[in-house]
Symmetry: C3
Subunit: 128 residues, 3 copies
């Protein structure tokens, strides 16, 4: 019998907008759902500058990984979807500031738009 | 010697259009290739409404996971690429209907276009 | 205590442009960061035709997996982000030529643009 797939939930990040959980864990791997720039209380930062949105989306990822009982240095991979490749340098600078010495594998993927007009969506894989 | 990477194949989902397999399995993790709205016999639904395409792409993902001997509740993560973020609510409703109680981690990623004019592409990770 | 997340580094692929490593390895899974069409010495091929860019990005993925001590047939999943779905056939042909008998799971995701004007970005997951 396989170990069940565990839903990770935390009040320290926005609750899901749709039919998903903040993260799942299976076989020691935590899959974090796409996170937008909403605060834990659900308040949208979609009208805020990119830098503020990037920090919030990163905070959400890290809060969910923390909710799985893991520190941010257990994040192995981050995928960043950004609206406008011109935000790449700003994203990279904020990301470096947040992660410090830890450098996950990463892909930055420009997209034409995001839900509700957000400028950035982040997903991550962490490992127990 | 590592366990070999296993190709998952099923007749219940469209055969690959290119140089890939429907899914691979390695170390107990099943990686499902991007699935479009084609029927198992290869018939394209690219000219059909979004809702029909979404149901077909979901059916393909689930058929392939089933072909790996796993039920849909072993899906840990889904990534949905959609052409037009305005389809988000329709996608979410169909997705909830198909998955029922199970909620994988998920990211929805708007894209400018998809191969052959499809409106949705889904990929998934399932765990044995 | 968990096994630490290992940074994979090789001189045979371009050094990271930002706050990431070429790949991480955790629990036997290698996550390769998004690779563009730059040579190992950092020279950009962004002004070259798609075919040349595709071969370089593939070479970078394979060099990094090799740097982890794994052959290309240990790649379980590839995600290809391409600017312009019209490059799908060219991409598929080059990809088949490079991978030969091995067929990873794959998703091809059209994007509106990539960093520095590149036409293709590839990421991969390999398994020890």
């Amino acid at each position: 019998m396989p170990n069940s797939i565990k839903a990770i939930t935390t009040q320290a990040a926005p609750q899901p907008f749709g039919h998903y959980v903040q993260a799942t864990e299976a076989a020691g791997v935590v899959y974090v759902s796409g996170q937008l720039a909403a605060r834990a209380d659900g308040a949208s930062l979609a009208d805020q500058p990119f830098e503020i949105q990037a920090r919030q989306a990163l905070a959400n990822i890290i809060a969910i990984v923390d909710g799985a009982g893991l520190s941010r240095d257990r994040i192995a991979k981050v995928t960043a979807y950004i609206v406008g490749v011109e935000y790449w340098p700003a994203f990279n600078a904020i990301y470096a500031d947040v992660f410090g010495a830890h450098r996950p594998a990463r892909a930055v993927v420009p997209v034409p738009e995001l839900h509700h007009g957000y400028l950035i969506e982040l997903e991550a894989i962490a490992v127990r």
